[in-house]
């Protein structure tokens, strides 16, 4: 844990131990209990039970429409931007139910950063993109902002490529670089967890490789949950893998086990490419 955290955040575990609610989950970031989700009448997530561990990369795989992106977006409640979403059950983040009435989504999303499928930088300069998060959380000091920008860009392994063009529009760089800018932007709010929704699906193989290496690097400091269509990617970069099918978790285990020795026939069929 670095001492240079500038945002006034609770350190990773200390804040919640006092009330004793963390006892059962020494190193779980998220505990999902009996989670159900409906889009109108469509039952998209069914009785999800999933524990996500600290400082690991958790991959979520499954065919299109299986609910994997929906589950990811439920973890920071972005799914609620879709009208007519209903949920039941609990998701405990660091021991606290994120659906509690007094848990503000803004507070949750400050702790849980997100990287989207398509690179989505703001039509602003690279610097302003990274400084956006710290600024909305009240940091105005130019020196501190400069430090956050450099630290975040270094963290996303793109500092050397853009350090001389921080004032240029973020759209002037390539798609792969844009995606790393988006990762840097997520790092700038100094999150605890990073959610990644198919972050490489719009990128070329070399940019994909860079992002995969970056994910390996980032898991030392962050817990990462990544949704991917690419099973090789899941096998390469994740510690645990959850296989979703029709809104249910079919199997969840260490990635090695899922890919070498799956328990469920459907998991085996999917990872060996027989459907999906």
């Amino acid at each position: 844990m670095s001492t240079s955290h500038v945002l006034d955040q609770k350190s990773k575990t200390a804040g919640y131990e006092a009330d004793g609610s963390l006892a059962s989950a020494a190193n779980s970031v998220y505990e999902t209990k009996q989670l159900n989700l409906w889009y109108g009448a469509n039952h998209a997530l069914k009785n999800i039970e999933l524990d996500i561990k600290e400082n690991e990369v958790t991959a979520i795989i499954g065919p299109s429409g299986c609910g994997k992106s929906t589950y990811l977006k439920t973890l920071n409640r972005m799914v609620e931007l879709v009208p007519s979403v209903k949920t039941s059950g609990q998701i405990l983040y660091r021991g606290r139910n994120i659906f509690d009435g007094d848990y503000g989504v803004e507070e949750l999303r400050t702790r849980v950063g997100m990287v989207f499928q398509k690179p989505n930088p703001f039509p602003k300069s690279i610097y302003d993109n990274i400084a956006y998060g710290p600024r909305i959380h009240g940091i105005k000091n130019k020196k501190i902002l400069d430090e956050i920008v450099e630290k975040s860009l270094r963290g996303a392994a793109i500092w050397d490529e853009v350090k001389d063009r921080l004032t240029e529009n973020a759209y002037s760089i390539s798609g792969g670089q844009q995606q790393r800018i988006c990762i840097a932007r997520a790092l700038a709010i100094e999150p605890d967890v990073i959610l990644m929704d198919e972050p490489t699906s719009a990128l070329d193989p070399i940019s994909t490789l860079k992002i995969e290496e970056l994910v390996q690097e980032l898991k030392k400091d962050y817990s990462i949950i990544i949704v991917t269509h690419n099973m090789q990617q899941a096998a390469r970069i994740s510690d645990r893998t959850a296989f979703f099918l029709n809104g249910e978790v079919i199997e969840y285990d260490k990635t090695d086990t899922i890919f070498s020795n799956p328990t469920d026939k459907r998991t085996e069929d999917y990872i060996s490419g027989r459907f999906g």
Binding site: P83, V105, E106, M114, I136
Partner: protein, 292 residues
């Protein structure tokens, strides 16, 4: 067996090209017809009015004598009117659009409200004049002041500004909202820092076009009872005034043929004002335009 025979395609090609040319010519004719009407109008007005156009025309008040008649009171009155209409209608219009697009739940009531705003944009201006007469002139006792006329004009162009702003706000890509909300930004922060900067060219273009409609409207002013012959300038928003289209309407309905020339000169002034406003809209659009 092949379904598309190359020979048949070639044989039918001539017919297809003829139809293509016919429609191209028809649309060209339509454009030319509109253009011709405009050119004739401009020619008539300019030839009639140019002789009367001078600096003293801009600095003289209205007069019984055509050669002394000036447009000062109407020009200044129209500027006063815009000074009330622009802030009122833009603040209310953009506020409503933001509420409907960003805050309101998408349900039957908001759909109903949206549909009615679009319908309001098509209500004749004289109806808004009657509304203004009832509410602002009589009920709120503002009389035939700049404020009463300004509020009435604001109501008239409000639907246009709301619809244009809604379109501009809707065209901001959803991914930008996601990115902002995903970092824990509140709705208001997302609106001020992401949505409005991206939507401002569309909003301002729509608003200025709506304002140029307001500056040319006559019917609501007649209903409110805005006077024509005024020998003083308003000192505040509670004073009465006259506006460019009112003055032009008055001159063109006078029997002396000389006044027709005065009216034409007035129309030239009004059109220059309109042209200036539209140019501002174009400049703003080009300056703020951003790519995604």
């Amino acid at each position: 067996m092949r379904y598309i025979e190359h020979d048949t395609v070639v044989r039918r090609m001539n017919g297809r090209m003829v139809v293509n040319t016919i429609f191209k010519s028809l649309f060209l004719l339509a454009t030319l017809a509109a253009l011709m009407a405009l050119v004739i109008l401009m020619y008539q007005i300019v030839t009639q009015g140019i002789s009367h156009l001078s600096f003293s025309f801009l600095t003289n008040f209205a007069s019984r004598f055509p050669d002394q008649a000036g447009i000062k009171a109407a020009l200044i009155g129209s500027i006063w009117l815009m000074a009330v209409v622009a802030p009122t209608s833009i603040i209310l219009g953009v506020g409503s659009a933001l509420y409907l697009e960003e805050y309101a739940k998408q349900n039957r009531i908001t759909t109903f409200i949206r549909m009615n705003i679009s319908n309001l944009a098509g209500v004749p201006s004289i109806v808004f004049g009657l509304l203004g007469l009832t509410i602002f002139v009589r009920a709120l006792a503002l009389g035939n002041s700049i404020l009463a006329a300004g509020f009435t004009m604001s109501l008239l162009i409000l639907p246009v500004i709301i619809v244009a702003s809604q379109e501009a706000i809707r065209s901001v890509p959803g991914e930008l909202r996601d990115a902002s909300y995903g970092m824990g930004a509140t709705k208001w922060q997302t609106i001020t820092k992401i949505i409005l900067p991206a939507a401002i060219p569309g909003i301002l273009t729509g608003s200025i076009l709506a304002l140029s409609r307001a500056i040319g409207e006559t019917a609501p002013l007649i209903v409110i009872g805005v006077p024509v012959i005024i020998q003083f300038l308003p000192a505040g928003v509670m004073d009465t005034f006259t506006a460019l289209p009112m003055q032009i309407y008055d001159w063109s309905s006078r029997p002396q043929p000389e006044f027709q020339q005065v009216a034409a000169a007035g129309i030239i002034v009004l059109m220059v004002v309109l042209l200036l406003m539209n140019s501002v809209a174009v400049i703003i659009r080009n300056k703020f335009e951003k790519r995604y």
